[in-house]
Amino acid sequence: MKIININKADWNTGLKKTADGYRLIGPVMDQGFYLFKPLESGKVPDMGFTNTRLSAKGIIYPQSQTLFNYSLDPNREDHHLLTEPEDAHQLTVVIGIRPCDAAAFVQVKRNFDAPDYQDPYWLSAYENTVLVGLACDQPGSTCFCTTAGGGPYHEDALDVLLVDEDDQYLARVVSEKGAAFLAKAGWTETADNDLVMKTIATRKEAAENRISSTIKTNNLADAETMAIYDAPFWDDVAFACINCGTCTYLCPTCWCFDIQDETHGMSGQRMRSWDSCMFPLFTLHGSGHNPRGQKVQRVRQRFMHKLKYYVDKYEAGIQCVGCGRCVDQCPVNIDIRKVCELMNNAGKQSVTCAA
């Protein structure tokens, strides 16, 4: 695999060169935490972050998105036509995305790019996005990517993986899309040699060793669904939950949405916004019946979906990349690592007690 050496002195000028072909997005510190924001007019990404407070999912799948506009006003030329918003997804590059957030796109893609149905909005955004990842040398204390199918140097889901090595970035070129972006920035100095490979391997191992948190998922796939569903621990797990949407909105792999028309006079638009299985409204039927009317049912659904239904349906592991955001930000400290342990143990023939 090709490795490009980017001197940090050339970093900002290179990024600037790409601005006329790409919309640049990168981590920015504001109000005490990092978020991915458009890097307008020469703003540079701040690469000194552990992880952004919100995941990168909103770049491809915005929290609120207009699907189309419409008007019934006969005076308008486009009346009774559905028109797409003008700012349909432009070619975008995400600088500094963590390997976990990128891996999440692969998991989410299974839903938005299914054999029977392909979501045109998500897919066009995904195809028009270049993921320039930043290897994670200082993972957080709640990160558990290495046991969630990824790792701090995991590059499969990326287009480029940047490794921060003193005054340079070593850029592993993973895809054509990534190569094109690097060329546009004028970064062409190849550095394919054993020494560089060894440096990356050493750093990778050190980073993996810094991940102190782990989960076990080995029994989930073979477990009886109902054995976990009916397990006795759900009331205790759910007691503290306040049914807010923090975990689902911060999660890079949660994909559920709600569709609404907003009408103003004769015109309007159809929008979709993130929704959350934590909200009672999520499952409320038109009849007034709610199949998940109780808190414990909603909490169970979230974990069952991530750690059992998804596992069974796609046979590609759990729907979680181990970024730790829900653990860090849950207002009442419900911890997916703990719940995963309970579920994994419930899947065993002889149930052993969780620590």
């Binding site: 207009t66 907003e262 103003h264 015109s267 309007g268 638009q269």
Partner: protein
């Protein structure tokens, strides 16, 4: 409302009995004049969806 940044001159409370027709006229006139003096409300108006330009034209 005023605390949030809506002009306090837009906010009026009055108690008008069904027998107080002259007071009713006075209050309506006062409210209308006060709001007209401020011009169109630009806060607390959703900008998307509503065609802003035609909204402004209407308001002018």
């Amino acid at each position: 409302m005023a605390h949030m940044g809506v002009e306090s001159e837009r906010i009026h409370f009055s108690w008008v009995s069904s027998a107080e027709s002259t007071k009713f006229v006075r209050v309506v006139n006062e409210v209308t004049e006060a709001v007209r003096a401020l011009g169109p409300n630009r806060r607390f108006v959703k900008s998307h969806g509503l065609d802003r330009q035609s909204y402004d034209e209407k308001a002018a």
